[in-house]
């Protein structure tokens, strides 16, 4: 029953979703909302798994004095300190909100800003490769880059229009083809799970 029971639950949940999404009476019963609430409640319990995993791993680093172990002390202090603070004054409390707005948000922005440099290094490497595809990529990038900046139209009238055409026609067409393929792939995966053919989420190599 270790594998059969989850499959039965999966199939029943799938059928409830189909009934609630396509049928008038299913929609009126609001079963999907109930399922969503059940998921949220069970997922909330899983937060504990995440905390236990973090504490176990970092406590091990401290105990074994692994390189950089003092970082683990800071992490555990922050984890439990901030947790205690938000329990005491909620996430909107003055100190809790200050820490979030002045430490976490700028940290996030810094990481996000790194992407600009990574884009440059990735582009440099891609354009350096001497293949037909890399050449097409380079030419397209130059057209779109200059077309989106004022210099494009200043150099040749209509450059911006060409850049817009590339973005709106071949680029959007390609993206939509990928999205349609991915949607059908997601459907086929869902159907395999409903048929019990794909069992990766139940552990092991994932197939029957």
């Amino acid at each position: 029953m270790r594998k059969e029971l989850p499959i039965i639950v999966t199939v029943l949940s799938g059928l409830v979703v189909i009934f609630s999404r396509y049928f008038h009476y299913g929609m009126q019963l609001g079963l999907m909302d109930t399922l969503d609430k059940w998921y949220l409640v069970s997922a909330s319990f899983a937060i504990l798994l995440g905390v236990v995993n973090m504490v176990k791993i970092h406590w091990g680093y401290i105990r074994r004095r692994k390189e950089g172990w003092w970082n683990s002390i800071v992490l555990l202090l922050c984890l439990f300190g901030y947790g205690a603070l938000t329990v005491q004054q909620t996430v909107d409390g003055p100190q809790a909100a200050w820490i979030y707005n002045n430490l976490i948000t700028p940290g996030d922005s810094t990481m996000f800003a790194l992407i600009a440099f990574f884009i440059s290094s990735a582009a440099y490497r891609a354009f350096r490769v001497r293949t037909k595809e890399a050449t097409v990529l380079l030419i397209t990038a130059v057209i779109v880059l200059l077309g989106k900046a004022p210099i494009g139209d200043a150099l040749i009238n209509g450059w911006g229009t060409l850049a817009d055409w590339i973005l709106k026609v071949p680029n959007t067409g390609g993206f939509r083809a990928i999205i349609i393929g991915a949607a059908i792939g997601a459907f086929a995966t869902g159907f395999r799970i409903l048929l019990g053919l794909e069992r990766a989420h139940l552990g092991g190599t994932g197939t029957k």
Binding site: Y22, L49, G50, I104, L114, I179, G185, T205, G206
Partner: protein, 271 residues
């Protein structure tokens, strides 16, 4: 109030408003996939499917990590179990874990979702068990890092610099952190296999990684790697469903261009 009651009137007395065509299409796709699976089960010939280079390269990537004595890193991205891409990653993780167990290569698996963490731990544990190496499974290498996007990204970057994995496998739903992972792994010289159905992250992966699975290919991964005819059958069904959709697009385009008034195909699809 009267208007609202009229608007909610079921189509054919059963179907929710605007859902009839979607339901029929779902049945058609399900039939196509089921038909191919049944043919495969009966041992009948099913068409070949094309080679997916990114999946063929998995053995090479893990083999390289084994030769170099360095670990393999696997991430299913940021999404939780509500995203089908995460389910696609589960299938691949089992295969990767089995290979790592076979070659005695360390597998570091990082997570940004606690439900996914629990499932991944079970998948890896089971794969090591199936490979006859339950002793080699190290629960400390299945790590929850953070559910905050950039905190997770920073943690993974730190792990890359510290543990220097020789192979980086990224499969699932990714957002802005995709290029942070791919470029950092590239700096440490890791061979990279990535896959996502998020079109806005695909250019990053294609530029920075050695192999990229595009869109639907990630959903084919576990069936493709299993080499089981029945699952191969479902992939062929998936391709036939795609042909059906593209036929509809061509017909719709022709009607839109040549029919003076209205479009009967869109009218049917709106029902």
């Amino acid at each position: 109030m009267l208007f609202a009651a009229e608007a909610a009137k079921p189509y054919l007395g059963v179907f929710a408003d605007g859902k009839f065509a979607q339901f029929v299409l779902m049945l058609v796709f399900a039939f196509i996939v089921w038909f191919m699976v049944t043919r495969a089960k009966a041992g009948m010939k099913i068409p070949e499917i094309r080679k997916i280079n990114g999946l063929e390269a998995l053995d090479e990537a893990i083999g390289r990590a084994t030769e170099m004595g360095r670990p393999v890193h696997f991430t299913p991205g940021l999404a939780g179990v509500g995203n089908p891409q995460t389910f696609a990653a589960f299938g691949l993780l089992g295969y990767v874990a089995k290979l790592c167990a076979k070659y005695d290569t360390r597998l570091i698996q990082t997570n940004a979702d606690y439900v996914v963490l629990a499932i991944n731990e079970e998948i890896i544990r089971q794969a090591y068990l199936e490979s006859g190496r339950p002793d080699a499974f190290n629960a400390d290498d299945v790590q929850f890092m953070s559910d905050q996007q950039f905190a997770y990204a920073a943690n993974v970057m730190n792990m890359f610099q510290k543990d220097k994995p020789a192979a980086n496998i990224m499969m699932g739903a990714f957002w802005a952190e995709s290029l942070i992972f791919a470029e950092t792994a590239s700096f440490i010289g890791a061979i990279q296999i990535a896959g996502t159905a998020h079109t806005h992250q695909l250019p990053f992966f294609i530029t920075a990684c050695d192999y990229t699975l595009i869109g639907e290919e990630i959903y084919a991964a576990s069936a493709y790697l299993s080499k089981e005819p029945v699952l191969y059958g479902s992939l062929v069904g998936q391709d036939w469903a795609k042909i059906f959709v593209f036929a509809m697009i061509i017909i719709g385009t022709l009607i839109a261009n040549f029919q003076a008034k209205g479009n009967w195909l869109t009218s049917i699809l709106k029902k």
